[in-house]
Subunit: 351 residues, 2 copies
Amino acid sequence: MTTKNASLSYQEIVSQPEAWEKTIERVIEHRSAIEALFRETRGRQTMMVACGSSYWGARSTALVLREAAGQPVETVTGGEFYVNAQNYYGAGDSLFVIVPSRSGQTGEIKKALEIAKERADIKLLSVVVYEQSAVGEMSDLSIALPWANEESVCQTKSFTSLIAAQAAVYRLAYGLPLGLLPAIPEAGRQLIERYEEKLRQLAADRSWSNLLAAGQGKAFGLACESALIMIEMSETQSNFYHTMEVAHGPNVVASSETLAIVFQSNHMLEHERRVIRDLRQRGAKVLVIGEPEAEREYECDHFVAIPGIEDEFERALVGLIVPQLLANFRAMEKGVNPDSPSDLNPWISIP
Amino acid sequence: MTTKNASLSYQEIVSQPEAWEKTIERVIEHRSAIEALFRETRGRQTMMVACGSSYWGARSTALVLREAAGQPVETVTGGEFYVNAQNYYGAGDSLFVIVPSRSGQTGEIKKALEIAKERADIKLLSVVVYEQSAVGEMSDLSIALPWANEESVCQTKSFTSLIAAQAAVYRLAYGLPLGLLPAIPEAGRQLIERYEEKLRQLAADRSWSNLLAAGQGKAFGLACESALIMIEMSETQSNFYHTMEVAHGPNVVASSETLAIVFQSNHMLEHERRVIRDLRQRGAKVLVIGEPEAEREYECDHFVAIPGIEDEFERALVGLIVPQLLANFRAMEKGVNPDSPSDLNPWISIP
């Protein structure tokens, strides 16, 4: 370990591929319990309840579940479920609640679940990192990923592991193959090996000072997390949008001080190209995370090629290493401690 | 009209109360057609499809419909519905699609609806400003609000009128009273009269350069639009969050250069107070939009009191005048033309 890589966050970021392997194995071990729970909850109103990064991640994983289940899945912040419960369910409703959470002890989620269990008929699945947690104990099934825990405040390894675990759960629950999930550890290793130095240089380039992250479909929530990790770990002003929404106004704040990260999606090359062209005309630098074959199709400033991952979901999941490394390097460049920025807490308890 | 109020945007912002009156009347005129359409569509999977400001507004109005209907309502960007349709419905599904749109001719929505109508059984309600539009012509029922049209590029009067119209439609559809909607024109007039000068001064205070907007529940989508109007009209870096999410990371970028706008919500005074205290400790200036009686409960830098509006939804709708005026005044202060910022188009057509 060289001094320039001395943050815990760095170690946690580069150890993700190994954590993903264990995560996928662990979910497979739970296959029959997963199948049983989803059989039992079929037809229930399904909602994912989460806070912070886990909420934004759920905006992506909800679409994985929606695709597998063929029915709507709501994503609700823990605060909403706690404070505005009456907007989301009525007394006696039958709900299937899924809580992805690192700590499993976020204040508003705990309180919301306690109240909800008194008012409605709830089946609860939690996917958590901490092995012992309040939410885990309240669950009908809880899948814990202790190897994905971090010493740092900001979620990197735990976030992507929770995402991978959710996707594996939803596919197994409906008897589907795991898709490209088994390929993500190797793709992650290759990404780090090939791009780490380039990302370090890009983080050191102080000509950009704000980030715009864009993704569509199952990449949207992961694009949001790209912006949030930049905010949290490196105190960088960052925004996040559906790619096709960028043209509807937000492009106005793109300037020569903007780095835009665009996650290549399925089915929309021509629309992404138009958004990228517009951002570059406004002076922004654009980094695209995409398939190797797409590199020549995009006119962009930086291209991170992820071989062998043809789906926007898994590609964005592996590609999240890009903003994570950028955030870590930019924090160190600015003199911000990436492991413990600005008095953040690893989880929020509420009185 | 004095020179300092010479923008079209300013005129459009202050003429909103009058537009709201006409809007509510017009919706009432459509009552029987509305009742018939919602009777016919009961039990269908319901989704709101919109772009730009209309999408964020739908994040609020969907909760008004959810409350009235007692069942989930999805909000989907036009780009998602167009490019990732398979994530949202299957061949032959029965959908009730609601499109709020100023122009009624947004490229991705038009194309998405054309494709969707071939694949699924769709009933379509549109709430639009332009009297003649492609989406209007495709609709089973279209409610047009031509008096809410703007000459400016950014939506102000059209946005709030579309929101008010949607809320009126959803309540009438389920035989509910209009609630506080009839009170919003007078509350809007009072807000302008009482706070315009203060907001002009706040916009001139260059010690803040970025905005953080927060709202919970039915105020969330309107808080998002607060940030977006600041982005679009005045080219100000702005973020938007659920109020209780601010503590989960985004507070890190709050600094002495931040103005935070917090919309008071129902049921959550103590949580808002905690978020506001934290933002102020980080140096941010906080402006709360709330009930007059709540003023003494909040320790904040600015308080905009909206009398007689006890619901978070209508209060946020009237309160949107605050970021609109701030954006207009800040744009003029910066030498940005609020009526036509940075090559934005009033709507996007796609090839």
